[in-house]
Subunit: 334 residues, 2 copies
DNA sequence: TTGTAAGCGTTATCAT
DNA sequence: ATGATAACGCTTACAA
């Protein structure tokens, strides 16, 4: 194969020095006539800028990494679009790193970001510790409402509050026995939602019944299993709150398969408001999160860090959640 | 900030030359004792390999790009997982490039792949021409069943045949008036499905009625609108075939909203078999494609090209589709 | 097995 | 405004 032309070739062709070519490319000050000559040479030779060599000098790659646990959850694509829209405009490429809930992969991705000298990291961490994040020495912004990573900027939604809204809604409909399907985190509890749930019980003097709390992998099958567990209880709950819509959709299906009418026999509430939540039957009542905005905001914060435009302390951004009442909730039977 | 240590620092610390350090890193032959000394030095200094500098010499980045039009379509995440699983094992990072159906973005991504000297490209092209793909000079594999890019390897599914299966199913149920909701391509017709549809009409001596063919953007709203168009026809079709599940789900909702029972009043068939297709009500009859396998295969073919393990001609891989008959299809009323 | 030294294609500094 | 020249951090002949 023919070797790719370099700025040196361009320089020779145009009869200038390579520094001049470099200036033309990066928009330095050059006389208009020479600029034109150089551009012609670039066209003629089919020169394409070598970002690798450039990065070597500038210590900038214009690439950032977006690390998420589960690309099949429609929540993330929406976030990703927000990230990309901002990053594209800023001239950054976004490397998508999907760990599939595997801690080992997550770690691998971080090393990749580090070795390739990416300019920054956006991550919804699953296993990695704050220390490990620190050791990458890369500007990092967390996605999600995580309080267990002090020292890092984070952008997420107020899921504690969202959970409260959902529970309040169910309570006001008359539900007193409410099941919770938690997503199983690899390494840590789904903290805020759980806490929110327990606080709510306390506040309304409802008894804590641990059989009402089940934990399954964050996928549809998990939701299905969880609902089965709950609905086969001697005294099944009259309502189920799932940690996200995927779980809720699984629960919906389980209820259906078991002959429980929704919302007649059991109410179901999800979280996230993914696109599919609108079109289940019945449509899913869910706690909506501003997914796209989380993405744009996270990207914006990261850019600020990268450009050192801010020496303020790390900061937590929490977007409010909004309960969307649809068809999957109603007063309990009897 | 403290400058990052280089192999030179490591070399000094370990009392060897930098070539030795390089050898240790890349697994060259070094005496065990010196290897150990070097490793200790690496640990001590917190050295992290610089992939940029390395790429500069080796002309390899170990990064490939996966360019797709619409990350919110659950079809792609499944493909992407296949790609990642293969590429991870081969030591490649996968840059996700989501164009959101914008040709300008697609072009931008290609330039990015080129400038950053990525090792290869997997792409489901929307606007870019074969010539433009050629000009990247990068190993490229197309994803999708495209016949209009001669000279390129491609991996996809036999969607012509899949469409036939769906139509045959509807025909054998007794449907004679079948609507088609096409996805609107930016730049070119959704060739194979359309051709398949028309061929089928011919073959069964069904009249061609262009009001039965509608075209809308590849999203749920598109499917919704399309179904409205079809179902408000003076003589609405008794069955609707949509170009993918997202469109079909929109159609399902439209039918529901308009008081058409599915499958009683109208049958609906999708394509892809995304996860959500199982849980619509009624569950969606659809033409399943081996999404994950398409991903792994595409990745495998690309790797072969990258490594020059093949000097055979370009080749089209077409996986068979499989009709999944679920609840959204039934004989027409009357 | 190890060291020496010549690149890889840019950008940045300093002259001119 | 332009040109020489020295980095940037690594790999890889080639020599020892």
């Amino acid at each position: 194969m023919p070797k790719r032309p370099t700025i040196i070739d361009v320089a020779e062709y145009a009869g200038v020095s390579k520094s001049t070519v470099s200036r033309v490319i990066s928009g330095g000050s050059v006389r208009e006539t020479t600029r034109r000559r150089v551009m012609t040479a670039i066209e003629a030779l089919g020169y394409e800028h070598n970002a690798i060599a450039s990065s070597m000098r500038t210590n900038r790659t214009n690439i950032i990494m977006l690390a998420i646990p589960d690309i099949t959850n429609p929540f993330w694509p929406d976030v990703a679009r927000g990230v990309q829209d901002v990053m594209d405009d800023a001239g950054y490429a976004v490397v998508f790193a999907n760990s599939d809930w595997r801690g080992s992969r997550e770690k691998m991705f971080l090393r990749m970001a580090q070795r390739n000298r990416f300019d920054g990291i956006l991550i919804n961490p699953i296993q990695v510790t704050a220390t490990e994040l620190d050791e990458t020495h890369l500007p990092t912004v967390l996605i999600g409402s995580r309080t267990d990573y002090p020292g890092f900027d984070s952008v997420g939604s107020h899921s504690y509050d969202g959970t409260q809204q959902a529970l309040k809604h169910l309570f006001s409909l008359g539900h007193r026995r409410i099941g919770l399907i938690q997503g199983k985190r690899v390494n840590r509890p789904g903290a805020s939602r759980m806490k929110s749930y327990l606080d709510f019980l306390d506040e309304h003097s409802l008894p804590r019944d641990d059989t009402l709390i089940v934990e399954y992998p964050f996928d549809q099958r998990g939701g299905y299993q969880g609902a089965i567990d709950l609905l086969t209880l001697p005294v099944p709950p009259t309502a189920i709150l799932a940690a996200n819509d995927i779980l809720a959709m699984g629960a919906l299906q389980a209820a259906h398969d078991m002959g429980f009418a929704v919302p007649g026999d059991v109410s179901i509430v999800g979280q996230d408001d993914i696109f599919a939540a609108k079109i289940t039957v019945p449509p899913l009542t869910t706690v909506a999160k501003p997914k796209y905005e989380i993405g744009t905001q996270a990207a914006t914060v990261l850019l600020a860090r990268i450009n050192g435009e801010t020496d303020r302390q790390w900061q937590q951004h929490l977007f409010p959640c909004r309960l969307k009442i649809r068809g999957s909730t109603a007063p309990p039977r009897e």
